[in-house]
Symmetry: C2
Subunit: 136 residues, 2 copies
């Protein structure tokens, strides 16, 4: 089974999961891990537990907020772990593509979702200008 | 003055603003608008007010969650308004670039931030494989 974990500095992960719930409904296979919110929680320990929780035949796709950030760095240490996939730069077009694609192969799913996302992070003023030029 | 408004389905906007606060500190010029959270609030009305609040010499950059989504569509109606810039596909690398660049021209700032972001939304397993290949 493929599970998805969203991991970010602060409440970003929980917030984007709220958007997903509104747009496509509850997604049981997606969890949010909000780092540095509760001082009693040890983030490194939570990351370790999430990686060690990957059982045989399971896959875990982790989406973090930012390359070079401490949240992503913590997961980078486990990249050799089988069944673990790490993507950084979490955004809604990417997440929706990951959740709605029928692709069974996880590496292909991630690659295709990243491709699909590219046309959906745009400067809308330029998009509109292009459309208007096409009208002539 | 240039202001930034984050607008999303649900709590995503407030959540990513929480990440920004942890990473670079409080940003007074950035506000979050979380649509469809409080049924007593009229989202179209809130969008209209935010646009009408743009005073002369002010600029408003709005970052929304998703192209084609109802939040972004609501703002698309105002694209001809002077001083209003709309970007969709909100993510942390883009937002941090927008907030930390010294670029004074807003169109160039947005274009450059989108370029900078591209190398920061990545599949880390592939990144690591590329780095290891470079070692040989």
């Amino acid at each position: 089974m493929r599970k998805i974990l969203l991991a970010t500095h602060g409440e970003f992960a929980a917030g984007i999961l709220d958007s997903v719930r509104i747009i496509i409904g509850d997604e049981e296979k997606v969890r949010a891990l909000c780092a540095y919110v509760n001082p009693e929680e040890n983030f490194s320990e939570q990351v370790k537990e999430s990686i060690e929780g990957i059982e045989e035949r399971d896959e875990l796709v982790v989406l973090t907020d930012m390359l070079g950030g401490s949240v992503n760095n913590e997961f980078m240490r486990y990249l050799n772990r089988p069944g673990f996939y790490l993507v950084t730069g979490l955004n809604l077009p990417l997440l929706i593509a990951l959740l709605t694609s029928p692709e069974a192969d996880t590496v292909r799913l991630i690659q295709e979702s990243l491709e699909e996302m590219k046309n959906q992070i745009v400067f809308c003023n330029e998009l509109k200008a292009e459309e208007e030029n096409e009208d002539f």
